[in-house]
């Protein structure tokens, strides 16, 4: 495996100069983990705040604006509150699995986060099977939801978990296939390679028609993957109360909650990397300043996140059979056709390259 830890060469060199090699590697890994945890926590909290402000904007409200300037510390305060809350649970719950479930959800989303090239030099874990790894990791998260729903010993949670199972298994296919469509054109599974390829034009432009179709399918399936409206059947409030996390409280609930937002970030970040050139600036206008890659990456990701929030606050929820019909009868056949179309386009060299 080709693991390149290349956040900053200076720290790397400095650590290796003052410590023996083994200790330095471990220290470096710990440091990176801490940095990513921090990113994770801050990103999660501020995505929650962003969602609340966006929702408020859609709903003719102001949204949180009291704690800190323009409510910037609101979610911090919420997190503090959640930490201090009592952890309740049902008596007959399977204690071990019940407590394990939130960690499954949170750890998988954290692992996926390590893969992204935030900018050229800012990537923790540049693995050559990047996309494959992402798909694999993101499907583990559902185990946490299934465990949580089952181990809670609550029928509403159980129904939520069952729905989550069918939903994730179905939409996993569409996410995978639409990404494979794009792999056909990029010719690599490694995320840094994929960004490199896009220096000749973002993949959504290079692949034109099939790429746009793949992007649409990916966004639909990705929204379903994160269990967000209009696919939030797992926690359909009006049907199941709180769905699979009905019996969770305090920090355990917060883990589920944060993981949902991190997953949304991941889905948007994958789309940014695969379809919209990752950290590349449009037409290479800021290529001389590499650090601006971070700006472009986050900017594109936030636009896509906004798109997903837009879905959530304007669409009603699907019914469970309609959800499966959409996937198996429409998205999947379309996706398979789209792969063939993409293969033809790549084979006949009909891609658009600048």
């Amino acid at each position: 495996m080709n693991i390149s830890l290349s956040i900053t060469k200076n720290i790397h060199n400095w650590l290796f100069s003052i410590m023996p090699e083994g200790v330095a590697s471990i220290t470096e890994m710990v440091l990176i983990a801490v940095v990513y945890l921090a990113i994770f926590a801050v990103a999660g909290l501020y995505l929650v705040l962003l969602e609340r402000r966006v929702a408020a904007w859609f709903q003719l409200r102001i949204g949180p604006n009291r704690v800190g300037y323009q409510g910037l510390l609101q979610t911090m305060a919420d997190a503090l509150k959640l930490v201090s809350k009592e952890l309740t649970g049902t008596i007959k719950a399977d204690k071990f699995l019940y407590n394990l479930a939130p960690y499954f959800v949170i750890v998988t989303s954290l692992m996926a986060l390590a893969l992204f090239p935030f900018t050229q030099e800012f990537q923790a874990f540049d693995i050559n099977i990047g996309i494959f790894f992402l798909i694999a990791i993101s499907s583990i998260g559902v185990i946490g939801i299934l465990l949580g729903g089952w181990a809670s010993n609550n029928k509403f949670a159980m129904i939520g978990a069952m729905r989550s199972g069918v939903q994730t298994i179905s939409y996993e296919l569409s996410v995978g296939l639409s990404l494979i469509t794009m792999v056909l054109i990029s010719g690599s599974l490694q995320l840094s390679e994929i960004v490199e390829v896009q220096k000749n034009g973002w993949l959504i432009v290079q692949g034109h028609v099939p790429a746009v179709i793949a992007f649409m399918i990916y966004m639909i399936a990705g929204t379903a993957e994160t269990n967000r409206a209009p696919f939030d059947l797992v926690e359909a409030e009006s049907e199941l109360g709180a769905g699979f996390h009905t019996e969770y409280s305090g920090m355990k609930f917060a883990y589920f909650f944060l993981a949902e937002f991190i997953n949304m970030f991941i889905i948007a970040a994958i789309a940014t990397t695969i379809f919209f050139g990752g950290w590349l600036s449009p037409f290479g206008i800021t290529e001389s300043i590499p650090i601006l890659g971070l700006f472009w990456f986050l900017g594109k990701t936030l636009v896509l996140i906004f798109l997903m929030m837009w879905f959530r606050w304007t669409f009603p929820r699907l019914r469970v059979d309609q959800l499966l019909t959409l996937e198996w009868k429409y998205l999947l056949p379309l996706n398979l056709l789209n792969i063939v179309l993409m293969a033809l386009i790549v084979w006949l060299n009909l891609t658009i390259q600048f």
């Binding site: 929702a55 859609f58 709903q59 003719l60 409200r61 029928k155 509403f156 129904i159 069952m162 409206a229 209009p230 939030d232 059947l233 359909a236 409030e237 009006s238 049907e239 199941l240 109360g241 606050w313 304007t314 669409f315 009603p316 929820r317 699907l318 019914r319 469970v320 059979d321 309609q322």
Partner: protein
């Protein structure tokens, strides 16, 4: 829905689930005992009484003026119309001549109440099918009506504005202008409701062909209001047994023949247009005159039985008073629209999914205190 009829070789097991009394979709303390096979509803059994206050028993010891104030607490979203129902019964029994001014004001307020109730219903209807934004749109407009009520009646929800013999006090000088302003405002906002929710393809899929109620069943189950009219059953009390000033105005009784959730939804949306039309016909011509006629401080109804129907936002509210000639009714019965509409929930929900149950229940527009009384 075809999935429900396919015979499966797998052994399926039915289980019970308690929906309510604390559940986001039951809008109050309604408890539904669901028998479910996977996601498919096999049986819905409502368990009532969590907010039962026995208003009918309380009425037997109260004077007629006091009874009016209890009716606010039944269907709190049509409180004005509930008040009116009792007042009309008492006035008819006493054979009082009610001034035209009172009739017109009561009609206008009744239609404003209907508008406010339908706005709230539209908001929570969206929430029940997962579109959370509708709630705030509905409440934005309802707030304006509540302001009008606050100014004229002194209360925003439980108005208590009617008394036997007329109104408690005259309308506020701003009433006419504010009502007109509201109508102008809401005429631009109601199409927004359609743009946000009605036309949405997911919403259409969720509502069309779900919870079908035939016309025969609607009559047999005693459905009334938009629930009955969504099944093509002409049951508008305002048309068939006009009271107050409804015989002075022209309006259409909205009828849809599909009988599904979407039809019930559309009936309410179109009813809002009709309500605005009624208000527009009356608001400029409120007759001058007294706002009440004097009644005795202690009202004694003559011996006999009196029945009055009115059309609340949810359907037909009936008031039955059996009087023995004393200052209290011997027996008073409220025939509440929600009670009959709830009784058909099992009929329309069986065979559907949990999501269908929530969607059809939302289109029944249940107010639990109205059912429990």
């Amino acid at each position: 829905m075809d999935t429900t009829t396919i015979k499966s070789n797998f052994k399926s097991e039915e289980y019970f689930i308690n929906m309510g009394p604390q559940h986001p979709a039951t809008h109050g303390v309604l408890r539904l005992l669901l028998t479910i096979d996977g996601e498919i509803i096999k049986k819905v059994e409502p368990d009532l009484g969590y907010i039962h206050r026995s208003i009918e028993k309380m009425c037997e010891r109260d004077s007629y003026q006091q009874i009016v104030h209890l009716t606010d607490r039944m269907d709190y979203l049509s409180s004005h119309i509930n008040n009116e129902a009792v007042c009309l019964t008492v006035e008819n029994a006493l054979q009082l001549e009610i001034p035209e001014r009172v009739k017109v004001i009561r009609t206008i307020l009744g239609e404003l109440t209907r508008l406010a109730s339908h706005q709230l219903w539209w908001g929570v209807m969206g929430m029940d099918v997962g579109a959370l934004t509708t709630y705030f749109y509905g409440f934005r407009d309802r707030e304006l009506i509540n302001d009008i009520f606050e100014e004229t009646c002194g209360a925003r929800l439980t108005m208590n504005y009617n008394i036997p013999g007329g109104l408690m006090f005259d309308i506020h000088p701003n009433f006419v202008q504010r009502t007109k302003d509201f109508i102008t405002h809401f005429k631009t906002k109601l199409p927004e409701y359609d743009r946000l929710l009605t036309g949405n393809v997911i919403f259409q899929k969720r509502m069309k062909g779900v919870g079908i109620l035939s016309k025969e069943d609607a009559i047999s189950f005693g459905a009334s209001g938009p629930v009955g009219r969504g099944s093509g059953y002409s049951c508008d009390v305002r048309k068939h047994h006009p009271y107050s000033a409804y015989n002075q105005v022209t309006f259409n009784e909205v009828l849809k023949t599909e009988g599904d959730s979407l039809a019930r939804y559309q009936v309410r949306i179109e009813e809002m247009w009709e309500s605005m039309a009624i208000i527009e016909q009356l608001i400029d011509n409120i007759p001058e005159g007294e706002y009440k006629v004097a009644t005795n401080a202690v009202i004694k109804l003559p011996k006999g039985e009196f029945y009055q129907k009115v059309e609340t936002a949810r359907g037909e509210l009936g008031v039955y008073i059996n009087s023995t000639g004393t200052k209290n009714p011997y027996r008073l019965k409220f025939r509440s629209p929600g009670f009959s509409n709830l009784s058909l929930l099992n009929h329309i929900a069986v065979g559907g999914k949990i999501g269908d149950l929530v969607a059809s229940m939302a289109t029944l527009d249940l107010v639990i205190p109205d059912i429990d009384r």
